[in-house]
């Protein structure tokens, strides 16, 4: 064996190994891209399916007429107004309670066992299935507090459900405000609450707002907890106050999906198109708000 052969051999082996490694790497990249694309593809197919099925039913009458036994005449007026009412009450309860809890935990709480228990508890509440909140709402609001199947009971139930989302995002917003701003305010003689209200909350507002929008976009699609509190009934009127019975878009969609007549599938799709349009614009608004204020932030 010559010297040349001895040195050539390992080089040749290495380069073929290198080739294999490189090809495995390419194959893997291909797999990763395919996996990512499959998620996007699923979204496209879903939106396409719903749009094709639903667009035929989408006309002005769909927004201005009440549900009907005939799929062609069924409209979503009571569902849309019911959704607006329930969302208003959800926000009314979830926003002050969530932001308040976030302010307490970020600005006032001392690092003790109670704070720790509250924090762990919020994490766990975020993972509780929504149907369990439905059982809570049914027993507590509908039965024990005798609110019946009202807008108020629905709003309270959904408010408890989205509370962790509001708290977590509000805390992130508060945490992003530099401590130097608080210290400057306190040094000038402001009280702790004045510091929070006039100095910390304004710059944290965009994140808090984003969190509120995301929380409401979660609440607007929730169906199971509202079914639990008994909101799945035939409602052909718009709510008149907090104690009115109601239906929502998501419940009305479920109702149409469960009808055996073929025509209702398209009506359901039309409802889904409306629901998704609202949801996607809420998400877009949240993303837009975040990037707008991130660019304007001064620190």
């Amino acid at each position: 064996m010559t010297v040349a052969q001895q040195t050539m051999r390992p080089v040749a082996r290495t380069s073929s190994k290198l080739l294999i490694r490189r090809n495995i790497g390419r194959l893997f990249l291909g797999l990763c891209v395919a996996a990512t694309l499959s998620g996007i593809l699923a979204l496209v197919v879903l939106l396409y399916t719903v749009a094709i099925d639903g667009v035929g039913r989408l006309n002005w009458d769909f927004f201005t007429t009440y549900p009907s036994r005939f799929p062609e005449q069924a409209g979503a007026k009571s569902a849309i107004w019911g959704t607006i009412w329930v969302m208003a009450f959800t926000a009314l309860f979830a926003v002050p309670a969530g932001v308040g809890a976030a302010i307490y935990l970020e600005e006032f709480a001392s690092r003790n066992w109670l704070t720790k228990v509250i924090e762990i508890n919020i994490n766990n509440l975020a993972g509780v299935p929504s149907i369990i909140y439905g059982l809570l709402g049914l027993t507590l609001f509908v039965r024990a507090m005798a609110m019946e199947r009202s807008v108020l009971a629905g709003g309270l139930t959904l408010a408890l459900l989205v509370l962790p989302i509001v708290i977590v995002s509000a805390r992130e917003g508060l945490r992003a405000v530099p401590p130097s701003i608080r210290e400057a305010s306190l040094a000038l003689g402001a009280t702790r609450w004045q510091t929070v209200w006039f100095q910390v909350l304004p710059p944290a507002m965009p994140s808090i707002l984003t969190g509120i929008i995301l929380a409401l976009s979660r609440a607007i699609g929730e169906t199971a907890p509202l079914i639990m509190i008994g909101a799945l009934t035939f409602i052909a009127f718009t709510p008149e106050g907090p104690f009115s019975e109601f239906t929502t878009l998501s419940i009305q969609i479920f109702n149409w999906i469960s009808r055996p007549q073929a025509g209702f599938a398209d009506t359901a799709a039309a409802g889904i198109v409306v629901l998704l349009a609202v949801l996607l614009s809420m998400n877009a608004l949240a993303i837009g708000l975040r990037s707008y204020f991130e660019r304007r932030r001064k620190w």
Partner: protein, 310 residues
């Protein structure tokens, strides 16, 4: 004289300060109450669930409940074996994970290790949109597209089946796995990657031998959180899985998940105080305990993972 004057000024200041603090006391009480609300909610859930569950187990033997294979509380001959429901829930969650874990983790590797920032900036929000779509919409998608266009051509006999629901659920939790795993992978320090590159590794080797092992506890936490979401998922399984409490391993059969049973009962007019009414709380308790255990385990893993790199 001057000293007395300044004392008076100081006293007045102190009085004003105390007044201001006193005015703020109710605000403080309010935000403290807000923070306590989360604890009250948890306590409320536990009391509500366990009160009726206690009533349920007064009438039904707990061993029969966990070992019985027939679930017929709405029939005249009532049997309370939870296994068909539990099996359906776990089977559908398992199948959904079978779809979501490989796709979600691979997508996370792509986003964290390969994707240029612009691509990542577009793809991640798109996947998050997928996670934000209401589950009732996935239910519609399952019975209008997944079952008739994909599963029935593959040999599924009926429209409604565990498989129809599982595929939709897999699509729902895919972005959850991807997004949380990606967070974990990005938390792996850059220096570890650079060390591996310095030793001659290529991207594939860095991703699979450095990043994934380094982020493993975070990835596992992501998977468990996604699984817990699948176990508690309600609308997809209610709409697409057929609502038949059958104990079977065949995913192409109709089944009924625990959540779907709760919905089925609440859609009917079940009077309070009957055993049928208590069943939904017993099932709810089981669901609550299973998801809680999964969440606590995932949180624990995440806390450990964060400590590793701090």
């Amino acid at each position: 004289m001057a000293a007395a004057g300044s004392e008076a000024v100081l006293a007045a200041r102190a009085r004003r300060r105390n007044l201001r603090r006193a005015k703020e006391a109710p605000i403080f009480a309010f935000i403290f109450a807000c923070a306590l609300l989360s604890i009250i909610t948890t306590v409320g859930i536990v009391i509500v669930l366990f009160e009726e569950t206690y009533n349920f187990f007064q009438e039904v033997n707990i061993v029969d409940f966990f070992t019985g294979t027939r679930w017929t509380p709405l029939f005249t001959s009532k049997q309370f074996g939870v296994l068909p429901l539990l099996n359906a829930t776990l089977l559908m969650a398992f199948l959904a994970m079978l779809l979501a874990i490989p796709l979600g983790v691979l997508a996370a590797i792509y986003l964290s290790e390969y994707a240029p920032p612009t691509v990542r900036g577009i793809v991640k929000p798109v996947l998050e949109v997928l996670a934000g779509i209401p589950t009732v919409v996935y239910g519609y998608f399952a019975i209008q597209f997944i079952a008739p266009q994909i599963l029935q051509p593959l040999g599924q006999a009926t429209l409604l089946s565990a498989a129809s629901a599982s595929v939709a659920m897999g699509i729902l939790i895919l972005p959850l796995v991807a997004s949380l795993s990606e967070d974990a992978m990005r938390a792996v320090p850059q220096s570890l990657r650079e060390g591996a590159y310095g030793l001659g590794s290529n991207r594939f080797e860095v991703a699979t031998r450095v990043v994934v092992p380094g982020a493993l506890s975070g990835i596992v936490a992501a998977i468990i959180l996604a699984a817990s979401r699948a176990v508690g998922e309600t609308m997809i399984v209610t709409i697409a899985s057929g609502n038949q409490p059958i104990l079977s391993w065949n995913p192409f059969e109709a089944m009924q998940a625990m959540t779907a049973y709760i919905v089925q009962v609440s859609l009917g007019d079940t009077p309070r105080g009957t055993i049928e009414y208590s069943t939904i709380f017993a099932i709810g308790s089981l669901l609550f305990l299973v998801t809680l255990a999964m969440n606590i385990f995932a949180q624990w893993l995440l806390a450990r993972f964060r400590e590793e790199y701090e």
